[in-house]
Symmetry: C2
DNA sequence: TCGATACGCAACCGTCGCGTTTCATAATGT
DNA sequence: ACATTATGAAACGCGACGGTTGCGTATCGA
């Protein structure tokens, strides 16, 4: 990865070892603050150190700047992908979008999304990392579901998989982003999106 | 509006009047900086004053804080709505989404979108203003197009207009947000989105 | 002409964060 | 024990910024 400061697995083994606990609390504090809606540019090393209960020195010994720290923090996120092995494309898609919807209720997820979408221009490394960790795996899962549906004959053979993904994910994104003005998302939102979209995806 | 400092239309009429030009350059400088990707929290009054070629005093005389200034700056944006009087729902929707797509190439629009989407939690007044100025009018136009299509029989009578808008706008949002990784959007993107979506919107 | 107000500019103080250094202390290998 | 390295705390100089004040000038109505 090369974002960390030296002393990764290397030889040196003299003196007091670095505290694993300190490292954990630093990362956790960073994620917490991001999850509270603090933008990357507003994150302060001092604030992180204070919340993590460590000295600034301990942070600077590991990361040379804020972005490196945030990149490593994001790297610890392993977004759990929903297991989808339903009996139909519809079930899989509903399950998938339901996970997305539920996640959007957690502020941590929402704020991380914000960072991914807004700070992407200013922090390309960060955006790339997020894309690699969170976006691509999910794209792959969804594409697989759709491709399976085509093979099974549930979906049109000429369906544009990329466009279908854009429609499904986009519709959910639209709701989580815009209609999240005070009001909660309806319970059956995933079903409604999928049913409306599938109408055009199925064979004639 | 009440965000401005006194002396709006009120009686007082002694002494040198406030410079309209200064006001313009302040607002313009603010919009420029926002358009360059500077987040609201990163905007500095000093930076705005410097770019606008005015003294800080001139800003503080008009707005008591940063958010008030940004709110007024956003208020000057009158996003030109595309004239849609096409002969079909498809034409209208393609025209509409094409405008959205083209706008997403201008950094000012993209950055303003970022602010609307990310800073909405932290600056509710700002988000509300943006919603009122940019989102709602466009929602209304699109809803009208779809409703007209239903009346004409081009679309299913039972079509969920809100959901249809989410699918169409969401698909475009998805592309402008995620696939804008270095690569440009295809010229026929609007057509492809509309054609794919309409497949499920038309009467059986 | 005169009073009032606005202007740009510069200086000011207080705050905050950065990145560094120093310090006494804690934890490890030999 | 001893050398070595890490730790949290505190303080440092530095620069950016907020918000205020004063200065000399410009522009208005009366």
């Amino acid at each position: 990865m090369m974002t960390r400061q030296m002393a990764e697995g290397a030889a040196r083994a003299a003196g007091r070892p670095r505290s694993e606990k300190a490292e954990k609390s630093i990362i956790e504090a960073t994620l917490e603050m991001i999850g509270e809606g603090i933008a990357v540019s507003e994150l302060s090393i001092e604030g992180i150190a204070s919340r993590a209960g460590v000295g600034k020195t301990t942070i600077y010994r590991r990361w040379s700047n804020k972005e490196d720290l945030v990149v490593d923090a994001l790297a610890t996120l392993k977004p759990p992908l929903p297991p989808l092995r339903g009996d139909s494309v519809r079930d899989d898609l509903v399950a998938y979008l339901t996970v997305i919807k539920d996640e959007s209720r957690h502020s941590r997820t929402r704020c991380i999304m914000n960072i991914a979408m807004s700070d992407s221009d200013r922090h390309p490394r960060l955006a790339a990392r997020f894309d690699e960790l969170a976006i691509q795996p999910r794209r792959a899962v969804m594409a697989e579901v759709l491709r399976r549906g085509i093979e099974r004959g549930e979906l049109r053979p000429d369906l544009d998989v990329e466009m279908a993904m854009a429609i499904l994910s986009g519709a959910m994104l639209w709701h989580t982003k815009w209609s999240h003005r005070s009001t909660d998302l309806p319970d059956d939102l995933a079903e409604r999106i999928v049913d409306e979209a599938l109408r055009g995806f199925r064979p004639r």
